[in-house]
């Protein structure tokens, strides 16, 4: 198991050997984001801006006008919030090839707590025109997505998790922009997830399966632009769609899936799981995943609770999906 940030750090170094346009613009966090690997390998293409996220974006944009294709390295939350206005005007509006590595995405940031948790990035970044928004599931996809982004000639925001998760793909995986990845086949209930949470959701599905509830698991690595057809195809025959994300239940993956499905005739019902609309706290990863309902067992538990709830309309799983 390898953490996505390490994968990202190693991959940009590897790309750096043959692509002279790659530069890294850091916000004084290279030893956390693992951009320090690039700094070591290519000191002349590593630009330390210090603690000034807006300026990071401005400088990256400026470099991009001269043929460079920069990666921004800092905690994602300080890009998606502190630097949002420069991202809007200098990157999204100009379509500059600036790549934002949103490190320490989601809830798990090494106990830093709510000031550092980025639980709204997907809602914010997918509202930006021209922005490609990626959330890879594991080390293999993190590498593939990094390589894809390195070639892409427009703005990219990519979630990069701090800590490793159980891999669900392998090194034969090919990243295809927009396409969803079916991690598990199953019955009429589909669990749809994104980012590293998809790995935990796959575990949740295994737990559910042991309890006789067979769910599909669909991973959405491209929040934008989503290949809607690919999602719909993967959901073919589903009656219940449960989105699960390490993100607020507002506006992120759940919002995206709701937008897509609510347009269709006879669409399956959608329920959104993730972080309730409130702030979280400091604590170890396991504690946070348990308390905030994102661990495999807690996901499984909530799925079962929902299926058995009156909200679901009936009271038993069988009836809900009937």
């Amino acid at each position: 198991m390898k953490a996505q940030r390490d994968v990202w750090g190693d991959t940009i170094v590897d790309i750096g050997h043959h692509d002279p346009t790659i530069v890294v613009v850091d916000g004084d966090l290279a030893n956390s984001t693992k951009a320090d690997k690039f700094a070591e390998a290519f000191p002349d293409r590593f630009i330390e801006v210090g603690i000034a996220e807006q300026n990071m974006v401005g400088i990256a944009f400026g470099l991009s006008t001269a043929g460079y294709r920069p990666w921004l390295s800092t905690f994602g939350v300080f890009m998606t919030h502190r630097a949002l206005d420069p991202i809007r005007m200098l990157v999204s509006q100009t379509e500059a090839p600036v790549r934002i590595a949103g490190a320490y995405s989601g809830l798990l940031n090494g106990s830093s707590g709510k000031t550092h948790q980025d639980i709204e990035d997907l809602a914010i970044m997918r509202a930006m025109p021209n922005m490609t928004v990626l959330a890879p599931v594991d080390e293999f996809e993190a590498e593939a997505a990094t390589r894809w982004a390195a070639e892409h000639n427009g703005p990219v925001y990519m979630r990069i998790a701090r800590d490793a998760v159980r891999p669900v793909l392998d090194d034969s995986y090919e990243f295809k922009l927009g396409s969803v990845v079916q991690l598990r086949t199953g019955g009429v209930i589909s669990l749809v997830s994104t980012g590293v949470q998809s790995s935990r959701v796959l575990e949740a599905a295994e737990l559910l399966s042991q309890a006789g509830i067979h769910t599909r698991v669909i991973h959405v690595p491209t929040i934008k632009p989503l290949d809607v057809g690919s999602l719909i195809a993967a959901l073919e025959g589903s009656r219940i769609v449960i989105t699960v994300e390490e993100h607020s239940v507002i506006g992120g993956l759940g919002g995206l899936v709701s937008e897509v499905l609510s347009e269709l005739p006879n669409a399956p019902r959608v329920t959104r799981m993730g972080l309730a609309d409130s702030w979280s706290e400091s604590g170890p990863n396991d504690f946070l995943l348990e308390k905030y309902g994102l661990s495999p067992s807690r996901v499984a538990e909530q799925v079962r609770a929902w299926l058995n709830s009156p909200v679901a309309g009936t009271g038993t799983v069988e009836q809900v999906v009937a």
Partner: protein, 304 residues
Amino acid sequence: MSKDAAADVSVALPHSPDLEELARLSQLVRWHIVNTVAQSKAGHIGGPMSMTDLLVALYFAELRIDPANPLDPARDRFVLSKGHSAIGLYGVLALRGYFPVDELATFDRGNSRLQGHPDMKLTPGIDVSTGSLGQGLSAAVGIALAARKQQSDHRTWVVLGDGELQEGMVWEAVNSASRYELSNLIAIVDLNGLQQFGWPADASRDRFDRSDPWAHVNLRGVFEGFGWNVLDADGHDFSSILEAYSAASDNVVRTSRPTVILARTVKGHGLSFTQGTYKWHNGVATDEQLQIARNELQIEETNR
């Protein structure tokens, strides 16, 4: 000045500063500002007019550019960080030959290459999109840094508003320019002493009809503290401006620090009814005012 005369002007060569010619160009630009905004019924006046002389001097006597080749990698770059003053830049670009002077009439009209704020994707001659204040210097730092890395000796020039300097992002960029020893970066501050609303006049601290935004501050000291070369200029005196540009150009090769020119200007300069008042930050001139403008700027009736 006839329409044909204006056309001639557009091919005037740089590096041949003739002060009278520059003054004449500035009058024309100011006319285009006030007239275009009046026709479009929307736009800024005071900021474009305070920087007019600075831009005319820059584009007609200093910048190493070729309007026929606006993407020449070796060109000097220009960033109008105070993007709300776009119409002033458009006037200069048109006269300099980047696009037809007639196109100014499309400003702010819809389906135009001349947006309310400069758009690098649409307008020939615009190097950086701006409009949200305080971002241009940062972009310029990136451009100047790239020039260093690519061993290109073009310079990067930036015009900032004095109100704009209140944006923290400006100071982030000021600090980076200094750390990376970007002597190829030259910032010009349009110190017109007014912004859009600002602070009420208050005796000892006034400039014109409001309190000077930087009344309590020694801007020279601040920039010097950050490690910049600081030059002063009278932003409405072409010899003073050109002297500052030439000193700044010398700094590019002579020093390892970025240079800022603190250019003292008058907001709305050049028209009796617009100058020295925050109320003409933006505004639409009446027909009567346009007539006054014609007279004061010596624009002949034949000119649009």
